[in-house]
């Protein structure tokens, strides 16, 4: 299996899907030279009718993605940082997410929106958000958050072949991370979680940027005799409830780790699934490790204080495992 960086795997998926289907086009600010590297080389291969720099106009870019589907295109829209999703939110929330239902199912919406998300780089409050809770709340938008190279490629290819609008949120801090990518036409379905690590004492449900620190925490906990099972959701819409509940049935304890704010974040939603449908399995309270209800501060020491990390995850796990043992 070839080893590819996370960002290269996304680039590979774009090349392959554009080769496969001439109706796939890519638009966005600076996609031609590729500020994140994920669209690099596409311009030389496919030219200006398949990939094009847009002006800085997020509100129009998102609306255009919808409009171009009417002409039969599958639009891959790159929005750079997830914070700029807010700038282009009207067409996402009022048009794309609702158009299919409002029109009685008349249209297909083959739209894939890519954005980098997350903190850790001292990029400050307007370049560090994870926009997925807002997107999850819209209803009509699928949201993939790959944690590794293989999933990044496979989920993006699935998104591009889908007639439903999807986001692929890139974990900005993971762009350089290497990983094995299966040969051939590698597709990963939406709504199918992966068991990133097996364990019997506690379930850690996580996604995207938080899978790595969750695995690091699980490793440290293992040395203390606590075996954590780590579930990588891969997509938060649709969400693999069965995988969450099956693991919970096995371990009886749940920690949810997510890089979004606590209030109405993805973690609260997952905890609600456990409370509602997995209550009989629970031997301890469900704990959430996420971002407090603050803007991401700039200074590294202050940013680190609000972002989840392996240590905070391990502390949360110990809190519910030892409580029961005691």
């Amino acid at each position: 299996m070839p080893r590819r960086r996370y960002i290269q795997a996304i680039n590979d998926a774009l090349f392959e899907e554009m080769e496969r289907n001439e109706n796939v086009i890519v638009i966005g600010e600076d996609v031609e030279l590729a500020i994140f590297g994920d669209t690099r080389g596409l311009y030389d291969r496919f030219g200006p009718n398949r990939i094009r720099n847009t002006p800085i106009c997020e509100a129009t870019m998102t609306g255009m993605a919808l409009g171009a589907t009417a002409a039969g295109f599958h639009v891959v829209l790159h929005m750079m940082f997830a914070n700029f999703v807010y700038t282009g939110f009207d067409a996402i929330a009022n048009q794309i997410a609702k158009m299919r239902l409002m029109t009685g199912g008349q249209i297909a919406l083959p739209i894939t929106i890519i954005a980098g998300y997350g903190g850790g780089g001292s990029n400050a409050a307007q370049h560090s958000d994870s926009a997925h809770p807002a997107l999850m709340n819209l209803g009509g938008i699928n949201v993939a958050m790959p944690s590794n190279s293989a999933d990044a490629k496979g989920l993006l290819k699935t998104a591009i072949r889908s007639n439903n609008p999807s986001f692929l949120l890139e974990a900005s801090a993971r762009g350089g991370q290497m990983g094995d990518v299966p040969d051939g036409d590698h597709l990963v379905p939406f709504g199918k979680a992966a068991i990133a690590r097996e364990g019997s004492d506690v379930t850690i449900v996580t996604v995207g940027s938080m899978v790595k620190p969750s695995l690091d925490a699980a490793k440290a906990l293992s040395e203390e005799g606590i075996e954590a099972e780590v579930i990588d959701l891969r997509t938060v819409v649709p969400i693999d409830e069965a995988a969450i509940l099956a693991s919970l049935a096995k371990t009886g304890r749940l920690v949810v780790v997510d890089e979004s704010r606590d209030r109405c974040g993805a973690g609260g939603y997952i905890a609600a699934i456990a409370a509602d449908k997995g209550f009989a399995s629970l031997k301890a309270p469900v704990k959430r490790v996420n971002i407090p209800n603050v803007a991401i501060p700039f200074a590294p020491i202050a940013e680190a204080a609000v972002l989840p990390d392996a240590n905070k995850i391990a502390v949360a796990v110990r809190g519910i495992v030892s409580k029961v043992a005691a």
Binding site: N53, T60, Q126
Partner: protein, 333 residues
């Protein structure tokens, strides 16, 4: 260069020079220290555009407002922000002008009317328009100046803000710094028509040599007078050039690609185009200052920059607790 200004004395001229030079030298220092990894995060430098910010801010008062951009250090200093507090901010220190919570892209000093650099391109249009609306309601003669790039002018809020400013005759000054690029995109490839023509539909406009500090000053003075006396908004476009990359160490993001030539950059650095070299030549040519005067300005600027570096480096790390206490007034997050 524009004509000498009859109302200026030597001190006025040297003050303009000093402000421009302070921006230039402090940005050069940041460029070098960035490469050494001396502070966290990214910086977008203002080198080459100094005459635009300094000329424009030289004709407004402390009580007037500006909104700035991701390339905001120059505007901050031009409006009278303190270099050492800005550096401490960029270093993520407690002594920073925003206590280390905002960093380079968010330097702000509300006490000096600096409503903040901004990480959202086009984020300043409506904020400046709102401040101008407030001034209009109060009738106190204050003005709001919105700095923005040619790239930002493609955001829809540009038109929306010009419309409100014009319909209600607000004291808004739209100060477009046209450097021809937005990130790695040549603006002309994504821009229809001329930016100035967009503004013409709403307000008086002028395009000025943005590397001529006196020309910028004269153009903006007229706009400010109009705004203060109830004459409504104006659009001033300064033609200028960004010498540094979009952000420092941009090569790491370009992956070997290029979007402009080395010749083009160097042409803008020549004595006949560089805003500081041009102004220095003007001052000596007109007999306003001699080499010793210029050397004294240079010396004092270098000292201020070194003091600011020392101040920032000696600062204490930001207080992480502030993330919780600063979200609201008298309310924990």
């Amino acid at each position: 260069m524009a004509e000498a200004n009859v109302s200026h004395n030597q001190a006025d001229y040297l003050a303009l020079l000093r402000r421009m030079l302070l921006i230039r030298r402090s940005e050069e220092r940041l460029s070098a220290l960035c490469r050494e990894g001396k502070f966290p995060g990214a910086v977008h430098l203002y080198i080459g555009q100094e005459a635009s910010g300094v000329g424009a801010c030289s004709v407004i008062e402390d009580r007037d407002w500006i909104t700035s951009t991701h390339r905001g250090h120059g505007h901050f200093l031009a409006k009278g922000g303190e270099l050492k507090r800005m550096y401490a901010e960029i270093w993520g220190k407690r002594e920073g002008i925003c206590k280390g919570m905002g960093g380079s892209m968010h330097v702000a000093d509300f006490s000096k009317g600096i409503l903040g650099a901004n990480g959202i391109v086009g984020g300043g249009f409506a904020i400046a328009t709102g401040a101008a609306f407030g001034a209009k309601l109060r009738g106190d003669g204050r003005v709001a100046m919105c700095f923005f790039g040619d790239g930002a002018a493609n955001q829809g809020t540009f038109m929306e803000s010009m419309n409100v400013s014009s319909a209600w005759q607000l004291p808004t000054i739209f100060l477009c710094e046209n450097n021809g690029v937005s990130e790695f995109t040549i603006s002309s490839t994504v821009t229809g028509g001329k930016l100035v023509d967009r503004a013409k539909a709403f307000m008086p406009t002028v395009i000025v040599d943005g590397n001529d500090v006196l020309a910028v000053q004269a153009a903006v003075r007229e706009a400010v007078e109009r705004a203060r006396t109830g004459g409504g908004p104006s659009y001033v476009e300064t033609t200028t050039y960004r010498i540094q990359g979009h952000l420092e160490a941009e090569d790491a993001f370009l992956g070997g690609g290029t979007y402009r030539s080395a010749e083009e950059i160097s042409a803008w650095q020549q004595a006949n185009r560089d805003p500081i070299l041009r102004f220095q030549a003007f001052l000596t040519g007109e007999g306003i200052a001699d080499a010793a005067d210029l050397a004294a300005v240079e010396q004092s600027v270098l000292e201020e920059v070194e003091e600011a570096v020392a101040f920032a480096e000696a600062g204490e790390d930001a207080d992480p607790e502030l993330a919780f206490s600063l979200m609201f007034e008298n309310q924990e997050a």
